[in-house]
Symmetry: C2
Subunit: 484 residues, 2 copies
Amino acid sequence: MSTAPAAPPPPVLGTYRRREAARRLAESARTVPSLAKFEQVAEDTQARVLTTTETVPLDRLNGWHYDERAGFITHESGRFFSVEGLRVETQSPLVAWEQPIINQPETGILGFLVKEIDGILHFLMQLKSEPGNRNGLQLSPTVQATKSNYTGVHGGLDVPYLKFFQDPARRRVIADVRQSEQGSRFLRKRNRNMIVETNEPVDVRDGFVWLTLGQMHRLLAAKDLVNMSTRSVLACLPLGVAANVSEDEGFGAALARSLAPDGPVVHPLVNVLSWITETRTRSEMRARTVPLSILADWEFTDGRITHRAGQHFDVIGVRVEAVGREVAQWHQPMIRARAAELAAIFVTRVRGVLHVLMQLRAEPGLTDTAELAPTVQCTPADCAQLPPEERPRFLDLVHSARAVDIRFDTALSDEGGRFYHTGSRHLVVETGWLPEPPEFRWLTLGQLEELTQHSHYLNMQARSVLACLRSLFPGDDDEQHHQR
Amino acid sequence: MSTAPAAPPPPVLGTYRRREAARRLAESARTVPSLAKFEQVAEDTQARVLTTTETVPLDRLNGWHYDERAGFITHESGRFFSVEGLRVETQSPLVAWEQPIINQPETGILGFLVKEIDGILHFLMQLKSEPGNRNGLQLSPTVQATKSNYTGVHGGLDVPYLKFFQDPARRRVIADVRQSEQGSRFLRKRNRNMIVETNEPVDVRDGFVWLTLGQMHRLLAAKDLVNMSTRSVLACLPLGVAANVSEDEGFGAALARSLAPDGPVVHPLVNVLSWITETRTRSEMRARTVPLSILADWEFTDGRITHRAGQHFDVIGVRVEAVGREVAQWHQPMIRARAAELAAIFVTRVRGVLHVLMQLRAEPGLTDTAELAPTVQCTPADCAQLPPEERPRFLDLVHSARAVDIRFDTALSDEGGRFYHTGSRHLVVETGWLPEPPEFRWLTLGQLEELTQHSHYLNMQARSVLACLRSLFPGDDDEQHHQR
């Protein structure tokens, strides 16, 4: 073209680098040094950081008010988030409901900073206190920032290490994908899940510690320690490498084979994508916001919003006082579950390759209709009151699972910035082959890993419990994969 | 697990079949028999089918009315679609606007039925008349059905061949993905783009004809012949096979290398996905529906809705009379553009591999913020009035392109069920290397093909013009790829 500028040399052609990252991350997962340093940092931070949270009536929160015109609870700045009513209609005229929901239409960053130390990739993790945490500190990403945080609406200090995530020149991207938050609590909320590697020297601030992936995998087994954001990002890490454990009969080998890209699968990916397309088309919902005051089945009394039958969750107000945080004192609404939830996945070995039974589940706050969810996702206390035919499928099999078949069982918290003392039992149960109901499919970890490169395929609970399953990836200190 | 049923044998493990489909489709693309049969069917159908469309004032359409409470134009059944006002706010306080938009929150089917005939995959295509078509018949998918169509709201006849798309036992899925319609005309409208293969005998009805992919590629060069839905589905076909044309210097060989999976690329896919994530985060919009009567810059007079400056498009009413269609006579609103649009892509060869300069473009009706769009997507007549610094980037280079660099140049129509005599000039221009502005990247056809497996990556205009570029895939009758 005559008017085009003279062609400068194009950049060097690269090839797909995801597998190289996966190889180095798998090596980090196999590396499990002593946790003594981590425990020291946790102890020091615990002594330095103090967050106290007390309940305050929703209608007496400084900075927040009930907007009579809209019927929402909003912040006087117009920022942060609002609590709104939602009316949901499905394609079945028999299924419709109303509920409160958090509207926070902005995309935050959940970021892991990664660096090679002594030849092994290490993750810079933060021990962080959030107002809703049941037990003080939890293991958090390097950066966990709402847009309000990182654009300064909090009037807080700079977010440490944020520059590595914002400046392309300072990092190499391993993954960068927007993923949904809980679609029954948030209206179309998403966060950027980022993993970036740097070669620059990194100054380790108070409360931060370098961990290998193997160390994080060990810590996932501790109750309420690894926070929700960390689990979400862990699930987005590429970990699939060509499996060279073909003779091994153990669970760990079946897991490693499941992660391998291009390994054998029950359902080719094109069929999985078609099943997702079809189910999403069938399960489209219409959801629109309505005033909190007109929600059927919910009442706003005693300074909180509760379900009349005492189910689901409350919206409460809290006053937070934090020493060692960027802002020292504030009020805010929070979600408090009435009972622990359950996120359980069934796994089975098909010719030596682990498959996970995933459910495609519609939730009103999801950006795209339905996402893959754990085999069972529910609040068991609420389900106990339902007649058997209305209970979630496979819940009975969870209740009757034998201890020897339970591969993972840990209570883990929801995000402590929005959820107060709220969490789920995370369960991995090995079963025999089970027939697939229409909304369920047996998938490999490699297939799920391919889908996590893209937004809107795995819901928060699925990512969370899959991070737990992936934590059983055999480490060098680990003999269990040579057994059973 | 003790309570699990005895395990039945699991299905046979399959491996990823997309490449096998691509190999067979590439073979179909290379096969270009005579078009005599197609021309005969077109002639016969033209003699049998007659659709006449005349303009009627919007406020005098049978079955439609202006809903005073909502401020929308709706159908009395509450079905089909509505015309609503939209207020759009971007993250820049300086950029906000209002416009009419079509709200049709349901997912239709655009489907190709494929069958092997004499060892080559053939596509069952329909010569179909739509009310907005400028020139009568256009080449349409086997099935092109809104949900109203296929659930019978039209009171029309059964949709022919629909069973192959609905019954999993009767087909093998090649692709099945929901893709967006035009995000500046439709509010979150999507269609299932499906390609399914059958082994059953297929009865060819009047108006239908079997074509190879190579024949369709030739027909794409004809003005207003291959309709928008067909172009959309064509772009979702897997066509990438390992390239064995390493010595060939021609354009066709550079195109084939660009389609090859795992070929060399300027930007690894992980970086492309990160760029999409970042740009989408930055370009989030808020859009909400408002009454048509309050739209700034638009007026509802003389039975149509027009832009006060005579730009963009009109919403008009039409009366349609169709002989040979399932419903004989009806009224409906339609969109009529004020001038032809432009969908232009620049391509360049980087070390013998064709790359396409794609733009990430936000549109208010898109489900997920922004999608990949052609290098230039605009209405040139509207842009001529803008000061130079506000004109779309690269538009000047389109205007000054040399004829020898234009690889494809055909006027093609928008979907004739909603758009009246409206279409775009589709242009493929070969250039030298151009530096990438922040919202632009040079990508290979293989990368774009990988992204079309998933929803919400390529907008309608991008799919449409990429189908045109892919139609230059060399056929066996084609010597041009050995030249230049």
